[in-house]
């Protein structure tokens, strides 16, 4: 039988992977762990001697838990995207990726900004229909010679000295810009995930 030390090593490896896959559908994660446990058991049994060396070899052929989790996670992300392009789904996967790598963290950050801006434009377009006096893209004068653009989405009174830049145009412009930003963010996030996936452990040899 496997020596206690080697068994501990396998358990630690799988436990680490389990933690990295947290956030994935629990049933799927459990199956992944069990499948790999079965693989390692058989791999080490075949080599005849259940030595620490056999266990180390089997584990290193699988890659580090981080690499494996990265492949499962980014695969999961790309796959979800093939099935549905829902930003919620994509953000969910990005959160998991962000917990695995710095690259994932920045992609998550960028995507949040992208989706937020996209959402703000769409929200503004809709609000213009309800509160035409206050919503819209306004040019506000903060002081003499100091102006700033503001996407106004609040209900309050129309800002003094401000100018509604787009008027009713904010409705079509906001919807198009909003949808465009959301789609662009999705594409960019998926492109990053694909690049990351490519950079992970070479599939051959």
């Amino acid at each position: 039988m496997t020596t206690p030390d080697s068994q501990q090593k396998v358990d630690a490896y799988l436990e680490k992977l389990r933690r990295l896959l947290r956030g994935m559908n629990p049933e799927d994660a459990r199956e992944i762990i069990e499948e790999l446990r079965s693989h390692i058991t058989e791999k080490t049994a075949v080599s005849g001697q259940l030595t620490a060396a056999a266990v180390s070899a089997a584990l290193s052929e699988l890659g580090t838990p981080e690499e494996l989790a990265g492949q499962y996670t980014t695969d999961d992300l790309l796959m979800r995207a093939e099935v549905s392009r829902s930003p919620v789904r994509i953000l969910e996967s990005l959160f998991r990726w962000a917990s695995l790598s710095v690259a994932g963290f920045f992609v998550l950050l960028g995507s949040i900004v992208g989706y937020f801006l996209g959402g703000a434009f769409m929200w503004c377009a809709v609000l213009k229909l309800i509160h035409p006096q206050t919503a819209g893209l306004w040019l506000l004068a903060d002081g003499p010679g100091v102006t700033r653009l503001s996407l106004r989405m609040g209900f309050g009174s129309p800002p003094l000295g401000g100018r509604d830049l787009l008027g009713w145009w904010i409705v079509p412009v906001g919807l198009v810009a909003g949808c465009g930003l959301v789609m662009l963010t999705t594409r960019l996030a998926l492109w990053c995930a694909r690049q990351y996936r490519k950079s992970l452990a070479l599939p051959w040899g």
Binding site: E31, E35, S38, L68, D75, D76, M79, P203, W204, G205
Partner: protein, 122 residues
Amino acid sequence: MKQSRPAEQESADKWEVQLRKGCLELAILAALWEGKLYGLEILRRLESDSDLVVSEGTVYPLLSRLKVLGLVRSEWVESDSGHPRKYYALTPAGKQRSREMAAMWMRFSSSMNRLLAPLAQR
């Protein structure tokens, strides 16, 4: 540490990696054509029936991806050696997809072979 190599060699290696990577999905589907196999059997089939050396850490994530895409299904089977194994089999959609991919591959490779024939002659 990586040994430094000439740039041409590096880019030829990269090309080979991309080429092999692109074939992996079809290779796995083809390995399952004759019946259900579990992960390690798939790896061994790929190694024995072809000279494709596959990294283990890539095949398992790819299998779970193929499963979500509905091209393969899986079931756990208790083995004689006492631990359960996860077997994979092609779904009807997976069979159709493999046939389509195989046909594409045949067409593509025969035109490439024609094109490359002069280069292969010494």
